[in-house]
């Protein structure tokens, strides 16, 4: 009885290991979630590698990687976290930019009509403006940059509410807890929010480009380095670029 139990557990262990061998783990910045699901599905058409996406705020994921999380690839929402990982020898090669994010002004309230002119934010009916925390989220930093550029920051400062990531500030806008807010174009284009409210794209000359970088992590060497490498290369293929474009990113 005991023997059979032990051998059963052993078999289970082998089975799990066998599964794990054909799988890679990809850490993905929250704003890329839907995009990367599409990229993964496209990749799977020609490759049988299993790909597990771990979605989170870039800062969180970077922390986890530095604490030893078993991720093979990290797609950040910015360039600084990947650079930091590379400097601290967690990455196999220097980070590469895979996409550029675009900033939009979005509202789900019917009586507010966002346009090119940011002065709308001064309206009295707008009580809360959602942004991502500029200290940790690149989209938030860009929003603050653009507000400062038009001398609006000090005037709307008391209306600003901060989400921990671009997805959280988008939740505030989607639930109308905030009247309007800055978010990523990829979010307003995603299936779940596509026809909700109105958005307007901000002039991309008005803020520093939101470059998003990817790194191949050291962990990939330990597990399935060939598969990780294939997926990493795939991110720069024409197919992947088309998906990025379709989801509201700029690619080179």
């Amino acid at each position: 009885m005991k023997k059979s139990l032990v051998s059963f557990i052993f078999c289970l262990f082998l089975f799990v290991c066998g599964l794990a061998q054909t799988k890679i783990t990809v850490a993905v910045a929250a704003n890329m979630q839907y995009t990367m699901e599409a990229v993964r599905d496209e990749f799977k058409k020609t490759d049988r590698t299993g790909i597990e996406l771990i979605v989170g705020a870039s800062g969180n994921l970077a922390q986890q990687i530095m604490q030893g999380a078993p991720f093979d690839i990290f797609l950040s929402a910015d360039t600084s976290y990947p650079a930091r990982l590379y400097e601290n020898h967690f990455a196999l090669e220097a980070p590469k930019v895979y996409a550029q994010g675009l900033l939009v002004l979005w509202t789900t309230k019917k009586n507010i009509h966002p346009g090119e002119d940011l002065k709308i934010l001064l309206n009295e009916e707008i009580k809360h403006i959602a942004i991502a925390n500029p200290q940790i989220a690149p989209y938030g930093a860009s929003a603050v940059f653009i507000l400062k550029k038009y001398d609006l920051f000090e005037r709307v400062k008391s209306k600003l509410v901060m989400g921990e990531s671009i997805t959280q500030s988008s939740q505030y806008i989607a639930t109308q807890a905030a009247d309007i807010g800055f978010t990523a174009k990829s979010i307003v284009l995603s299936d779940k929010t596509k026809d909700k409210g109105q958005w307007s794209e901000l002039n991309k000359a008005d803020y520093p480009p939101i470059l998003q970088a990817v790194v191949l992590l050291k962990h990939a060497q330990l597990s399935n380095s060939a598969a990780a490498n294939r997926f990493y290369q795939f991110l720069f293929s024409e197919q992947a670029k088309n998906i990025f474009k379709k989801f509201g990113y700029l690619v080179q």
Partner: protein, 225 residues
């Protein structure tokens, strides 16, 4: 550089939550400690819910409820021009709900621990129910009251998930110490995170220490008596 405003805000929130809950919990615990009926059990379950629910559940529903698009939030905005989401008032309400069992449970078990003869004696001496509660029962369960106060205060200091979901991280209004710590860690600013964290750790430790010290002393007095 550590800003004091998040710590100050946390203490203010904890203090007000404890004060309000103390006033709410006494009649509630008194009512709950009576004979078990179906409505009473129902309320008891509701009071205990925050113990088992993840803060994200409460935070999620409060976000929907407080939003001007929600029924409650819409009404408040239309009639009173109040918006609870992203405000200190909203956090206070959330904290009261979240810490409710931490105040009600100790008081309730305190009342249950008293012999019924105490109450009966007071009644037969002509005291009203209210007089009995405040003049006889509550003075006899001081350690339980103290436990409720300390636990509520400490639990509110430790509140994070709900504040994260409905606070909006506004400095001086909803940016509490636990949120500040989270942000500093996210920004890889470990020294600042450490300073906030250490302050909270110290406060919590001292409070719990005082609680145990007080309960120990009381236990001794009881033994001597």
């Amino acid at each position: 550089m550590v800003e004091w405003s998040p710590l100050w805000l946390t203490l203010k929130l904890s203090f007000l939550t404890t004060l309000i809950l103390f006033c709410v919990a006494i009649p509630l615990a008194n009512w709950l400690s009576k004979e078990k009926t179906i409505p009473r059990t129902f309320v008891e379950v509701i009071v205990s819910m925050p113990l088992v629910l993840p803060p994200s559940v409460i935070g999620f529903y409060l976000l929907l409820a407080f939003s001007p698009a929600g029924a409650l939030g819409g009404m408040l905005e239309k009639w009173f021009d109040i918006r609870l989401v992203f405000s200190f008032g909203g956090l206070l309400i959330a904290s009261i709900i979240y810490s409710l069992p931490f105040m009600v449970h100790p008081i309730q078990s305190g009342l249950a621990s008293l012999p019924s003869s105490l109450k009966e004696a007071a009644y037969s001496l002509g005291k009203s129910e209210r007089q009995t509660l405040f003049g006889v029962l509550l003075p006899n369960i001081k350690p339980f009251l103290f436990t409720g106060v300390i636990l509520t205060f400490a639990h509110t200091i430790g509140e994070f998930g709900i504040v994260l979901m409905i606070g909006g991280n506004i400095p001086g209004k909803t940016r509490t110490a636990s949120i500040a710590i989270y942000d500093e860690v996210e920004a890889f600013n470990y020294p600042a995170a450490n300073r906030y964290a250490l302050t909270l750790l110290t406060i919590s430790f001292i409070m719990l220490f005082l609680l145990y010290l007080y309960n120990r002393r009381l236990a001794r007095i009881n033994v001597i008596q």
